[in-house]
Symmetry: C2
Subunit: 363 residues, 2 copies
């Protein structure tokens, strides 16, 4: 996304009642590049006021792409999130309009717009480029061969002294990316040189590089995670890996296990939302307690490594909705119950988590 400086976020129906995570992620970390947000329900308002929490303050909300053109955009980011990540047919005319206006498209869906004949033909005519962020990395479905022609099959260890940290959580969409980006911010503030490894489409949009592990074939995912993380460990002493899924999610349990084992994390940060009783959209699936979630991750780590390797070293809580004093009380209570440092990284910063990571295990 580095070459795109004037982005319009398409967020129809994604601001109210609660803002979608693509929108909030981009606003939180790349708002300097956003010139307008499109949402017909909130046109005329300021983004910071409509989204809440001041995110995107000063960025106007407009009713449609035509209105957004006044802000001289160079690109449109699809900020809408249909469950399953498949392009709804009703979006087609809108995307054709965007491409027809010569604007680049930043797309986080599983549907590859660049492989669609109509979209790619339109892009060729207008000169627009399509960035399909969640592309299946088929060029990496390869096997490295030794000199004798036999395949290399080796689990590489990380550089001694380096630290690889993975965010895990009790659900999807529970702050794993935000937690790692806030820890990165805190580390940069302290003069460290962290490396952030994006493993989802939003993290990739924000940082301009990464691979969406949910778009990788099961047979290759562990190896590709290993490669991403090993490359980062060569460059940095502090590698921050964005997490995905949850071990207790009925549709999303394998991904985080691949991530934990493939990233060879030295420590974990546990993410949790104090106001969420169940898995999102699955009211029959209550979230585990934090104590239980910590235990589950210790179990999963022990399947591959000696007990105690890859511990949870800190807790990242979403306390949104609680007044400041109540939030601080909850955080203190959780610290007392678990014996681990806890914080809400958005409200109170990530310093306690970075402290815990730096006091924690290395490779």
């Amino acid at each position: 996304m580095d070459h795109l400086k004037r982005i319009v976020i398409l967020a129809d129906d994604e601001i109210t009642p609660s803002p979608a995570k693509t929108l909030t992620g981009i606003l939180r970390y790349r708002s300097d590049r956003v010139v307008a947000v499109v949402d017909n329900h909130n046109a005329g308002r300021d983004t910071g006021e409509a989204v809440g929490g001041g995110l995107g303050a000063g960025i106007p909300i407009v009713a449609d792409i035509a209105a957004a053109m006044a802000f001289e955009p160079d690109s449109v980011l699809l900020g809408t999130e249909p469950t399953g990540g498949i392009l709804p047919p009703s979006w087609r005319p809108l995307i054709l309009e965007v491409i027809g206006r010569g604007l680049d498209v930043i797309n986080g869906l599983h549907t590859m717009l660049g492989e669609d004949e109509e979209f790619s033909a339109a892009a060729e005519r207008s000169g627009a480029r399509i960035w399909d962020v969640r592309r299946e990395p088929k060029e990496r479905y390869t096997v490295e061969l030794r000199e004798d022609g036999k395949p290399v099959f080796e689990i590489r260890k990380h550089r001694p002294g380096s630290r690889t940290v993975l965010a895990v959580g009790t659900d999807c969409g529970i702050g794993k990316m935000t937690t790692m980006l806030e820890i990165e911010r805190e580390a940069l503030h302290r003069g460290l040189a962290p490396a952030f490894v994006a493993t989802g489409q939003i993290g990739t949009m924000i940082t301009g590089r990464g691979v969406s592990i949910d778009a990788i074939m099961v047979d290759y995912v562990a190896k590709i995670i290993e490669d991403e993380v090993c490359a980062a460990v060569e460059e940095s002493d502090l590698v921050l890996v964005e997490g995905q899924g949850a071990l207790n999610h009925p549709r999303g349990s394998g991904g985080p296990l691949f991530l934990m084992h493939g990233s060879r994390a030295d420590s974990l940060i546990m993410c949790h939302d104090l106001s969420r009783p169940t898995i999102k959209l699955l009211p029959d699936h209550p979230l585990p307690s934090l104590e239980r979630a910590i235990e589950m991750h210790a179990e999963g780590a022990s399947w591959l490594w000696p007990k105690g390797r890859c511990p949870i070293v800190g807790i990242s809580l979403i306390t949104a909705g609680l007044p400041d004093d109540r939030a601080r009380e909850e955080i203190a209570a959780i610290e007392a119950a678990t014996g681990l440092p806890a914080t809400d990284v958005v409200r109170y910063g990530a310093a306690p988590l970075l402290d815990a990571i730096l006091a924690g295990p290395t490779a």
Copy 2:
């Protein structure tokens, strides 16, 4: 594979020193359709004698495809297994020869021969068909919508009284498919109507249907497993799901967790090889003890369900290499240590495992 009656298995370098699992799987369950095996190292021998254990007795081994033509084949099954499942460039001329002779190709690699221009052009000329068994099921990367346009997101329960059983194991290639096919055979023998759900390319070749879960994108794999198993549960009271990977495999831990959770198994059969000290090809990764492996699977099940749901009810052992009396002693010792029935399904049949399944939990 139902339409193919006269198959040649291409097994160059795959018989000695130890036969590959595609070869042994096809020979064990579909040898009635195999007319010849190609292996230049063992040409002239009988397959049953070269492979050992009498598998494929009476099937001749020939030096090349030209020699195999004497047996009037209708198809060639690629029985060679390069690590990673990618087509080695050196195979290209051989596959072109097969296609050029008008023989259908049965391919279990990740490489899709049918999407290769040279192969598909050759097939068009000769009339050969290419069956890419391990095809990524992209047509199933969809989202079901409700009448109001919102996506369906629901974890279906199984029909009460039905039994879904999944094979798990301490490594890849440790008898999970064979165990379930032997349990199926035993169930058929007893007049039951089991349904076998293939989750890998060899199981799919043998049974003619199934989906290779290692060729599915991470984001869709749990849902596709759910769909496969739910369809089988509608048809049968006894659903036998082929397993994949191992929770303790550094590259293969996520798949079996997706399978356990997605299949909503009521019980598990644990597969283990008494002569294997470590993960195959990874000498630094010792296999867990059976007791530890049982504990690990109980942990993984408890992440989603109440403790005790989805128990291991029996143990399937590979005792190859041990004389009969030693094998029986080992089996008895393991039964005593674990309190679970155990058997070597190939040597002693699957009856104790089926007994345990039928005495075990239902949905």
